[in-house]
Amino acid sequence: MKFLLSKFILLHFLFIIVVSYSNQCFTFVTVFSQEDNKKGFGIQERERARIHTENNSEIVKNDFTGFILIGTIIAIIGVSSYALYKIYIIRRKSNKSKVKK
């Protein structure tokens, strides 16, 4: 019953995503089939991207977000190295105990 509930919730979310995405595709087709001077979406999106880039460039100037990206990559490499090291330690211990037996 509980698994059925989770399936139902999954289907519910998938339905929302599919509906939203098909809506998206429909908007794309409608917007790009219009003439150039009626492409409101294109202008609006370009303007929004420009504002976003301006806002971001101010943030990037502080080198704040650049450090976050570098920190993220270092964290992922560090965690994976730590995991590999732990596995190596576990395997070495089990090999030693096998030899003792």
Binding site: F3, S6, L14, F28, N56, S80
Partner: protein, 161 residues
């Protein structure tokens, strides 16, 4: 649980409806982001709580107690729920990123790297058969540094964009 999901979805839909002056495309792209965050919250907070309670019950009550056994029996459906909702959240986040690709920044890139790493390790943890690979993925998937980093990046992403 279902009521909570419906409540969150209704908030998202009302959010998108209140911004009629913006384009439909932009509303949907934002909506995907909120769906992704909601899925992540709903899928992960109960799962982490369940694991904590199970661990405490095994420690305090022992493996033979009826509560511990009942909790152990619930593991499979809860895990399936966790995987399913997180996958939905991952794909919703992916669409959100693709639709707003022009506004990409370092925080979004970092967020996508962390989410992809955790998702791939989770999928491999569920389906891979090799013991060493499973150990590696278990450590990657459940590491506290990656979880904290993910939460911080999501908060920064919301605040900045």
């Amino acid at each position: 649980m279902l009521l909570v999901i419906l409540f969150l979805l209704s908030i998202q839909f009302s959010y998108s409806e209140n911004h009629n002056n913006r384009s439909l495309m932009h509303n949907n792209a934002d909506l995907f982001g909120w769906i992704s965050i909601s899925c992540g919250l709903i899928a992960n907070i109960p799962f982490i709580l369940y694991l904590r309670v199970k661990k405490i019950s095994v420690k305090k009550l022992g493996g033979g107690d009826s509560l511990t056994r009942n909790l152990a029996l619930e593991h499979s459906p809860i895990l399936n729920f966790h995987i399913a909702l997180n996958l939905v959240g991952f794909f919703a986040g992916l669409f959100h990123g693709i639709l707003l690709i022009r506004g990409i920044d370092f925080i979004s890139i970092s967020l996508s790297i962390v989410i992809t790493t955790i998702t791939v390790s989770g999928i491999l943890l569920r389906f891979a058969k090799f013991r060493v690979l499973n150990q590696f993925n278990r450590m990657m998937h459940s590491h506290v540094i990656l979880s904290v980093l993910l939460v911080i990046l999501i908060i920064l992403h919301i605040l900045i964009s």
